[in-house]
């Protein structure tokens, strides 16, 4: 694999990590930057995708699935995560179930200043909720997703994966 290829976070990496960690359901709002990931998830016969109308629903649906013994993952953008504040509080933090929330890090860059307020407030938001997070920017970071699952299971709390590479390999 070339350096350029290694620098791109491939959607297949996320799906492989989901399978490795026994994920049964993805609860999501599709966005234009992750369309290929959405299509790839739809192709997996071991994975059920639940499209929702608003991000706050995703954490509550995840709670219902967790009660029933399933392994859900929430997949939304940082803007939607911030909209979901009370749902995160009441349906995830207060639930006592592990949950990995994969958050598209809109506006994230490590080059120069971050100008998008969606990115500026993402980590302060997670810190305010005392939710730990792992930054995943490229393929080589893929194993951090398994670290998030491990931490979520150990603590029975939500743990976030911030996808800081929304604008590369997720659309084809």
């Amino acid at each position: 694999m070339s350096d350029a290829q290694a620098a791109i976070l491939r959607p297949e990496t996320l799906v492989d990590e989901f399978k490795k960690n026994g994920v049964t359901h993805i609860i999501t709002i599709p966005d234009s930057e992750t369309n290929y990931l959405y299509e790839l998830m739809q192709e997996q016969d071991w994975l059920e995708v639940i499209p929702t109308a608003r991000e706050g629903e995703t954490f509550a649906i995840a709670l219902g699935l967790s009660i029933s013994g399933k392994v859900p993952v929430v997949l939304i953008q940082n803007t939607g995560m911030m909209e979901s504040g009370d749902s995160i509080r009441g349906m995830a933090l207060d639930s006592g179930f592990p949950l990995v929330m994969v958050i598209g890090y809109r506006g994230w860059t490590r080059h120069g200043a971050i100008t998008d307020s969606a990115a500026r407030y993402t980590e302060p938001f997670l810190n305010a909720f005392r939710i730990n997070y792992y930054l995943v920017e490229q393929n080589a970071d893929g194993d951090r997703i398994s670290m998030a699952f491990k931490e979520a299971r150990a603590t029975k709390r939500p743990v976030a994966v911030l996808v800081g590479d929304e604008y590369h390999g997720f659309n084809r």
């Binding site: 359901h25 609860i27 059920e48 639940i50 499209p51 929702t52 109308a53 608003r54 706050g56 629903e57 995703t58 954490f59 509550a60 649906i61 995840a62 709670l63 219902g64 699935l65 967790s66 009660i67 029933s68 013994g69 399933k70 859900p72 009370d86 749902s87 509080r89 009441g90 349906m91 207060d94 006592g96 179930f97 592990p98 299971r153 029975k156």
Partner: protein, 196 residues
Amino acid sequence: MINAADVFRVFQTHRGKAIVIATGTSGKHWMDFTTHQNRDLNLGGAMGQTTAAALGLALGLPDEQVVLFDSEGALLMNLGIITTIAGKQPKNFFHFLLDNECYATTGGQPVPNAQGINYAGMAKEAGYAAAYSFDDLETFGAQIGNIMNEKGPVFVAIKVVPEVENEPIGRRQRRTVRTRPETIRTLRQELGIADS
């Protein structure tokens, strides 16, 4: 309008082994009629997201009937959920709406367009398999048996008498309810679901 307690009294005889989630000021009456507490869930407490949690449960337990007694104030906070439910078409999901036309717990202020909304119409047009409206107990009692034998998602809107609470929160008499963790634990034991 129907007294919420009468809705539950009639429903109980048709419950079978359904898992029941009751929310809102009207939902408090369920505890007086349930005969299978191990299959009752307390999922309230996040600005109307109980509807979505009940959907998740129905999707995760496709062989169990899941019955939600929702309130219109809660549903209006997350109205898009009816499209999410319709999109997944859970055949085991029964979505009852106890519509008292107001926010009873905050003093009875009307919800937006309180008397002008056709909730069953919205659910049907969103894509529920079936939708009903009731405002008298006799008709509800005559049809509930058949409704519980239908394939979901089914929506049942019921006009209920508001039970407005005006006392400051600290002075209200509270009934002892089973906590959410307790109801989750007993349901999972009942269904043989291993600890996460």
